[in-house]
């Protein structure tokens, strides 16, 4: 099984230096790309069927194609790597950035070439101190080696790269809020259209992609689209995917696997099954802002289409497992508290609705709940449906809640009737 993204990451946790990266074929993709036209690079990425790894699965090549490319296109254009990764249960980008920062940098340079960007930023989660140090060193090395700056690798292409460490808000991961944060403004999202490809950072054409998305790019260019497509088990998109499992499983971790492995394979094989004494009850398949899936969904292939069909989203592909010894109400409360706190405060449903939701869940969990509050919770899930709020944070926050109300209604009612948490 091929693992192009992670195969060179060292087991001892130390970082791959530029020399080491080059020794295993690093920057070959870039050199090839620079010999192609930007249009050809973009076409290859389109043909590879790479879909964004930031959660929404938007086809990457298509996203790039909206950037104005004519002679009158505004400049500077920007390219931004989204490494905010504040989604609870998600830690895949960290593995990539800490283990092999040059792979990200190379992916960004190639992408920048494809859209003819001038300036690039790596936007990193505030808490990733080690990753930040390593990226800093890697950017420096890349400049020294002529992969960044003027006349990259002997070509006419030039690119600046900067590291930006975030202040630590979940909202900063939403791509337009990220751009505002980069501009030094409040991390409120922007309405779309206009899309960042047209009016992004500082009002200029901008591409934001997830860290993992960029990590795929050098391999696509280096080894070709056919090879890349074949990595995937799913017709849904090319490549491998970093999957993770957390919760009371035997071996919580991250693995690079063909796109489209089943949830069962992830939990039972790779994570080693449930810890002794714990039974599987449900799982959030793609981070905190996805709907619960239950036993009946275990054989669902973890790709964008199939998880959607099962009533959830693949999101970031990092599974959080709920077991029979953990209170589902408590789990949802924990998540909603997080979302309420991370609301940017821009739109009413999220700003006001999430704290209310969290307060109600807190009351229920602590035995102070009332039956009519279940109606309020159901109302909130409709009130904060996609489109009703300004950005996807609140609808995402409603996903675990609406599915919990569907699958665990009895547990909610028991809390209220018994005036306590049955798991206490």
């Amino acid at each position: 099984m091929e693992q192009p993204l992670t195969q060179h990451i060292k087991k001892d946790g130390s970082v791959l230096s530029l020399k080491e990266y080059e020794a295993v074929g690093g920057y070959q993709g870039l050199k090839k790309a620079l010999k192609m036209t930007p249009k050809e690079v973009m076409q290859m990425v389109k043909d590879s069927n790479l879909r964004g790894r930031g959660g929404a699965g938007f086809p990457t090549g298509m996203k790039w194609s909206f950037v104005p490319m004519d002679d009158h296109a505004p400049h500077p254009k920007y390219i931004v790597a989204n490494g905010d990764e504040m989604e609870p249960g998600t830690f895949k980008d960290r593995v990539l950035v800490e283990g092999n920062p040059h792979q990200l940098i190379e992916g960004m340079i190639i992408s920048a070439y494809a859209i003819q960007a001038d300036i690039s930023y790596i936007f990193l989660r505030w808490a990733y101190h080690e990753a930040a140090k390593r990226v800093e060193v890697a950017i420096h090395e890349a400049y020294q080696a002529g992969y960044l700056g003027e006349r990259i690798a002997g070509s006419d292409f030039h690119l600046e790269m900067h590291l930006h460490t975030s202040v630590g808000r979940y909202m900063c991961g939403e791509e337009t809020a990220l751009l505002n944060a980069l501009e030094g403004k409040r991390a409120n999202p922007r309405s779309k259209p206009p899309f960042p490809q047209v009016s992004g950072l500082f009002g200029k054409p901008t591409i934001v992609n997830n860290v993992e998305t960029f990590n795929n790019i050098p391999h696509i260019i280096d080894k070709g689209t056919e090879w890349y497509q074949a990595l995937s088990k799913s017709p849904d998109g090319g490549g491998t995917k970093l999957y993770g499992v957390s919760g009371h499983v035997k071996k919580p971790a991250i693995w690079e696997l063909p796109l489209g492995v089943s949830l069962r394979e992830l939990i039972e094989e790779h994570a080693g099954g449930m810890m002794d004494g714990y039974k599987f009850r449900a799982a959030l398949p793609g981070g905190a802002s996805t709907d619960f899936l239950t036993e009946e969904h275990l054989d669902v292939a973890m790709d964008f289409t199939n998880v959607m069909k099962a009533g959830s989203r693949m999101g970031t592909g990092t599974v959080i497992v709920l077991d029979d010894k953990t209170c589902p109400v408590g789990m949802v409360l924990n998540l909603e508290k997080f979302f309420a706190q991370e609301s940017c405060g821009w739109c009413t449903p999220c700003r006001e609705g999430l704290p209310w939701t969290a307060k109600i869940l807190d009351a229920i969990e602590n035995g102070r709940g009332m039956m009519n509050q279940l109606d309020i919770l159901s109302f909130e899930t409709v009130y904060m449906a996609p489109g009703n709020t300004f950005c996807a944070l609140a609808p995402g926050a409603m996903e675990p809640l609406q599915s919990a109300l569907k699958y665990f209604r009895e547990d909610f009612e028991r809390h209220i009737k018994e005036h306590k948490c049955p798991w206490d």
Partner: protein, 903 residues
Amino acid sequence: MPLGLIMAKIFVDNIEYEVPDGKNLLEVCLSLGFNLTYFCWHPAMHSVGACRQCGVINFKDENDKRGRLVMSCMQAATNGTRISIEDPRARAFRAGNIEALMLNHPHDCPVCDEGGECHLQDMTVMSGHNYRRNTFKKRTHYNQYLGPFINHEMNRCIQCYRCVRFYNDYAGGKDLAVFAAHDDVYFGRQEEGVLENEFSGNLVEVCPTGVFTDKVLRKHYTRKWDLTSAPSVCHQCSLGCNILTSERYGGIRRILTRYNGDVNGYFICDRGRFGYEYTNSDQRIKQPSKNTDNSSQPLSTEDALHDVKDSIFSKKNIIGIGSPRASLESNFMLKELVGENNFYGGIPKRESDLVHRVISILHQGKVKTPSLKEVESYDAILILGEDVTNTAPMLALAVRQAAKNQPREKAYALRIPQWDDAAVRESVQGQTGPVYLLTTHHTKLDEIATKAEYAAPDDIAITGFEIVQQITRLSQSANGDESSQSFTASVARDLLKAKKPLIISGTSLYNTAIIQAAANIAYSLKDNGKDAGLVYAVPEVNSMGMSMLEQKNLDDAIGRAKEGGVDAVIIAENDLYFRVDRDIANDFLKNCHHVLVLENLQNETTTKADYILPAGTFAESTGTVVNNEGRAQRFYQVYKPSNEMRSSWDWLNEIRNSISGVHAENFDAVVDEMIKKYPELAKVKSVAPDANFRKGTQKIPRETARYSGRTAMLANINVSEPKPPVDKDSPLSFTMEGYQGVPPSPDVPFFWSPGWNSVQSINRYQTEVGGALHGGNPGVRLLEPSNENKSGYFNQSTEKFSRREGEWLVIPFYHIYGSDELSVKGPALAERIPPVYIAMNGKDLEKGNLKDGDHIEITFNQNKLSISVKSENTLPEGIAGLPKGFKETTGIEFPFWGRIRKV
């Protein structure tokens, strides 16, 4: 393609409407008269999609039965747009949104200043939400002290973000922001303190809740529905912003913006909003009186008229001194009373000449002066010598909007709709189009200027004439001085590149050459095919109107009196000590022998009067004033005072009656007389409907239908309800009964519509949101340019400024709070007046061995002034700046040469 030209068919709840294609959907719905709720959208600041209160169901086509919820403020109305406002899902969503907004709202309407005029109350009722399901504690905030104008009560905030959008994005403020996140967001200053922006008072109207409220109103609070209000015109500068002035119990309680789509739009400045307190001052003159050096004897109106006839009109040479702060009608009646040859305008020659020059340029020149609102449509601006933020504040706000035009074109080219405010701003990145300033020293608009240069007044004029030469050069040779980076070359280039270049200047530096240079620049742009505009700020509310009636000025009167040609003088609403040096005023009044003064407030002139008659301020008078644009506008008496205060023209009419038996029946009769005599003022007749105008048989009430306490208000004095006073001068009544619909636009005393109790009801008075009021915007322009350009180009006759050894040319510095005669007499505004100072270039200070804060003595003519110095390094050396109109500087005639000595 400009919006609004092509029509689109849209369907609202299955009914078809024709609307301008591409317009904002919420705006369109409001223009069509729908009751659709909203908070964050504002007609002048457009959409950001934050509050989510305007949700409607949008259907793809007639086959789409499900549709999806969208925010109407974030959609364009285009052909085939199908929405439902009434869909139960949309209704439930909007009610749910109110429920969410109310979770933390204190529900303190009974003690909230906003209550009864609150957009949140209105929207709550409109949404149908009423039952509270929340059982948890509310979050609370600390409130801040924000200065004398604005009260802060953050707990009432519904986080619509309008305040910061207005204050920062629209008005250029820097000291109000949003802090924190999630349900803890806080709108305030970084620390407590005075809100600095000149337009902060608009927060009172922009904020849909009781967070930002009028602190001056709070000092004498009354419920909004209990106010008696009249359409009025701000008297605090020459722009003539439209206002609503409101009274209860014989005192003015507050001022609100009166929307005028041609003048001030939705906003006014803080001087205009909070500068009315002088009307309630204990210095008000309320009773006629007879005065000697050491006694004052109150008179009844009858006795006063009798005495005035006997002791003033028995004299032979009686002259009248008019005033730029008195109405056209008052100036006219005075002129009638004393005769054409004996009427003198109330300002010194220098100022008079300037205003006459402005009038002749606007009338005989070939360039149009735009309305205040139209200023916002120009795409390149040059300001010559005027500190507009302080001399004509709302003009500065208009310039700030105009400065956004050029960069915004780029956003529109990306197909970002004009109403998508956040996206437009993101694309524009705070850039401003060409705005050039040529002033004597640093002014606030410098912050948006492409380039600001500083020069002595004469040098400003000279540079102005050079710009004309540059324009000619550039336009004659295709590759003229294209590369020159000089100020004049850049200005000329950018003015020529613009579609609509605008030149702004004014009278504030008392420099005719500057005014002429500004005209020449505008003429040359026009000659180069540009749709150029020319705006002058003039000193006072009716400077233009008075000058239209004035043939002789105050200096002429002073000269005549000195030669013994005056036996008595009648002064209407004019403190001569504000106009000329003390000694001159003293001598003049002595030389006039007998003095009759009609005045609002006690001042130095009234202390010298033999007879004083209580003249109403704008609040107790009806009249017409002409603003800097030449727009004649009507203001109406707000209430009938219980004392003898009345319009000056009314007094003068009574005096005329008592001496000659000629009596104008009412205000309209005065106007008729006036236009008969001065046909050039004929249009004044059509400024507003006359007094016998009726809607059906009904007058227009000054009180809302919700007015309360009418029978009880005066019951402590007399239990039987008094008959409401009659207003013979206007179609307005002093009661709550009368026509309840939308009155003619000049006669709107308040904005109210069923379900819309806040100022947002303005939507219902407009032909379309943000457009003209029903029946056209109020005001009639008296001056239009002539096609022949009778005045021609002016010759340059100015010499370069050269400094004098040991002397300084002292020029006036203006302050929005401090330089206006009457507004400074109110306590709230007075708090904002800076301490007096004299500004000089740091190098001059060094040479004189002076540092900031040192005391100096300045001597000029026969006067001495002791004052502390302040360095202002943008001011050219050899020039000093002294605040105009301050207590310490009142009556000083600028500019003057003075000697400065350290003390």
